[in-house]
């Protein structure tokens, strides 16, 4: 059957199982939007393209499916850039479909023309400009395949306007043939045996798990491994939820705002087993003093991560589904009871703490209250800053894909739109967005999107009347010279929410907190809580940038 390119594209999206996408129309995208009109695919119109990008990302993170985001050419496409980079840094499978000016106008600085494939080359797993109508469906098929296989990531397909209009037959390719892309599943068995040998000899082993555990969906297999061996576990920010936070062997987060126990354990261990991690600088601190006495094992699907930041002694490249089950089948119980005692002692003696206060609301206590009210079963979506770290520190994550946060890029403005995507992907789950008075403003227009679709997202804005994390660094390292980090005139977020069609609640004192949170949960539809927290609270403990993990401030 003859149809136009846009109709064929929509059909191929259906073949890929897409039933919802996020986007914003415009001149070059009109033919595509016309094809979507009666396609049966649900289109969520955000209020800004950046919101659409983060929403598709949040959808993908919460569900494990490929998110889809569409936009028009030029500014529509460039507005996606932060969202694409965010997804890229955290290995999130999103297919971005951007419209482009017609083929004959490309390269002529035409109206709303931007070289979006050029712009996004360093921040996509792959991208392509479709130049001929006959390439369209092949490019779409490849985009989905590349986005979700191997180490997932965003793929951008840029489609000129005339290709949307070109007449074509719909023959969606069944297979993908890419000479230069062969995602690996199984690696070398002998490397897994080396790990088992190293474990048998280790006296002080630690597992360090990251986002790869959540992406690969191997938390059950991993839990079996830990139950069997009793080896303590620490996680990166992205690894949260991959192993239950309340498990006795979970030491909590590692790194800059990690726990005393985790940072000590990694500094003193003799065997560090990284699983699905990339040894980011926020985790390692001073590289030369990171796990100085340890044999380092690295499990990852991406060979380029091995030896990138930390020198690895044993590398196991492959899908974690393969490697962890291999390891589980051959591992023996190490004798590490002394080490377990030492680690547990650190964990018990030096837990995360903060000064309770009856007058002011402590931001950490907000997270604790939400944790109690939701029994650790909500999907927690954060923005970036202090509130993000407190969420990681004080929420009890029990299941994979329940912390949705911009770990790698640290994008302010990610939270609310990502929560919209997560809620649409998981309509039966309670979604909380945790934000700050800085971050929320960076995509607050999406309150209107949440209201329009009556999404029951509960947003807690930890309002400290300024940019908390910036101020913390200025307080600690810049002699309290608070340059450009204070909101001199506060915003009434409850009114803002009401204006955009959501419920707003202002919480000014500690006694009001619990009832307000309960009211928010009871209220159907989106609720925005403007919670006035103490202004000069620090995220502790803290390893200053460039210091070693055992040089912690506080905690």
């Amino acid at each position: 059957m003859l149809m136009n390119g846009a109709q064929a594209l929509v059909k191929s999206l259906k073949s890929e199982g897409v039933d919802i996408l996020f986007g914003y129309p415009g001149g070059a995208a009109l033919t595509l939007y016309d094809a979507l009109y009666d396609s049966g695919i649900r289109h969520i119109l955000t209020r800004h393209e950046q919101g659409a990008a983060h929403a598709a990302d949040g959808f993908a993170r919460a569900t494990g499916k490929v998110g889809v985001c569409i936009s028009t050419s030029g500014p529509g496409a460039t507005n996606l850039v932060t969202g694409i980079a965010t997804a890229y840094m955290d290995s999130v499978p999103v297919v971005f479909i951007t419209s482009q000016v017609a083929t004959g106008l490309i390269g002529k600085d035409s109206f709303q023309e931007a070289d979006i494939t050029g712009i996004t080359t360093p921040i996509t797993k792959h991208n392509v400009l479709v130049k001929k109508p006959q390439d369209l469906l092949k490019c779409v098929k490849e985009a989905f395949y590349i986005a979700r296989t191997g180490r997932p990531g965003p793929v951008l397909v840029d489609i000129p306007k005339d290709i949307f209009a070109a007449k074509m037959d719909f023959t969606y390719p069944e297979t993908v043939k890419l000479k230069g892309y062969k995602p690996i599943f199984a690696g070398e068995k002998c490397k897994v045996s080396l790990v088992a040998d190293a474990l048998a000899q280790a006296k002080k082993p630690v597992f360090f798990i990251g986002g790869g555990i959540n992406i690969a969906g191997v938390s059950e297999e991993f839990s079996r491994l830990i139950e069997k061996t009793g080896i303590p576990v620490t996680t990166s920010l992205m690894g949260m939820g991959g192993f239950p936070s309340d498990h006795r062997l979970n030491l909590g987060m590692l790194g800059m705002h990690g726990t005393y126990a985790a940072n000590q354990a990694v500094t003193q261990c003799d065997l560090l087993i990284g699983v699905g991690v990339r040894f980011d600088d926020r985790v390692t601190g001073l590289v030369s003093r990171f796990a100085p006495n340890a044999t380092v094992v690295h499990f990852d699907i991406d060979p380029a991560e091995i030896n990138k930041n930390i020198k690895t002694d044993i590398r196991v490249v492959g899908d974690l589904n393969w490697s962890l089950s291999q390891l589980n089948s051959i591992i023996t119980n190490p004798d590490i009871s002394d080490w377990q005692c030492a680690v547990m002692k650190w964990k018990q003696e030096r837990p995360l703490t903060f000064d309770e206060d009856t007058r002011e609301i402590k931001p950490q206590s907000v997270i604790q209250e939400i944790d109690q009210l939701t029994d650790g079963n909500a999907i927690m979506v954060t923005d970036t800053g202090q509130h993000q770290m407190w969420t990681a520190q004080y929420y009890t994550f029990k299941k994979p894909r329940t912390l949705i946060t911009s770990g790698g890029l640290g994008t302010m403005g990610f939270g609310l739109p990502a929560a919209i995507g997560a809620q649409l992907g998981c309509p039966d789950q309670l979604v909380w967005a945790i934000s700050g008075d800085g971050s929320i403003m960076m995509n607050c227009q999406e309150i209107a999107t949440a209201a329009e679709h009556n999404l029951p997202i509960k947003t807690a804005i930890l309002n400290n009347k300024g940019l908390g994390m910036v101020r913390q660094w200025q307080r600690m390292f810049y002699q309290k010279r608070y340059s450009g980090s204070k909101h001199e005139r506060g915003t009434d977020f409850a009114k803002l929410a009401e204006a955009l069609g959501a419920k707003g609640i202002t919480v000014k004192s500690a006694q009001e907190l619990r009832p307000a949170l309960e009211e928010a949960i009871k209220t159907p539809g989106p609720v925005f809580l403007d919670i006035w927290v103490s202004e000069d609270e620090d995220v502790l403990p803290m390893v200053p940038a460039g210091a070693a993990l055992d040089e912690m401030i506080g905690g």
């Binding site: 080359t121 360093p122 400009l129 230069g180 060979p303 380029a304 030896n307």
Partner: protein
């Protein structure tokens, strides 16, 4: 240490930008890069000379592999291979100097490809040291311009890199 990478890529627009961009983005230096199609018109070969220790080369190779259009990478530094560069040198030459220059050209088995009123263009091929040597020898006459290609390389023996 200087490494020579022989990289096979899909012969498509934008691939060169992708490869070059990866180098600059991650802080690696390309010393030279030569691209051309292979016997298979869908595939191009890039010969990339890059300076770095083993750690850098390991990362360069792996990051190159991540590019979807990169098909195969061989570090041929330690293999037996023929490596060649081509140089065009425009050198000052009045009639009195011409014979001396022609002797140098002979010694290096180079060729004179253009004669002007006061200058000659010399074409030479060879490995890097030969090219440097001929340049040094011609320097006293006054070199007006040098145009040099990057290195291209082929492994000796019957094996091919496409196999």
């Amino acid at each position: 240490m200087r490494h020579t990478l022989s990289v096979m890529v899909e012969n498509r627009a934008g691939v060169l930008a992708r490869v070059a961009g990866m180098f600059s983005r991650r802080g690696y230096n390309i010393e030279s890069l030569a691209v051309g199609t292979t016997e298979n018109p869908k595939i191009s070969r890039m010969t990339i000379v890059v300076e770095g220790d083993n750690h850098v080369i390991e990362q360069v190779t792996k990051q190159l592999h991540k590019l979807i259009e990169v098909i195969k990478i061989s570090d041929i530094t330690d293999e037996e291979y023929v490596g060649r560069e081509l140089v065009l040198i425009k050198v000052n030459a009045d009639t009195a100097q011409r014979s001396e220059i022609m002797q140098i050209v002979d010694i290096f088995r180079a060729r004179i490809v253009d004669i002007g009123y006061k200058s000659l263009i010399i074409e030479a091929t060879g490995d890097q040291s030969k090219i440097t040597a001929i340049e040094t020898s011609l320097k006293p006459f006054g070199i007006r311009e040098v145009v040099r290609t990057g290195k291209i390389a082929m492994v000796r023996g019957p094996k091919t890199k496409l196999e």
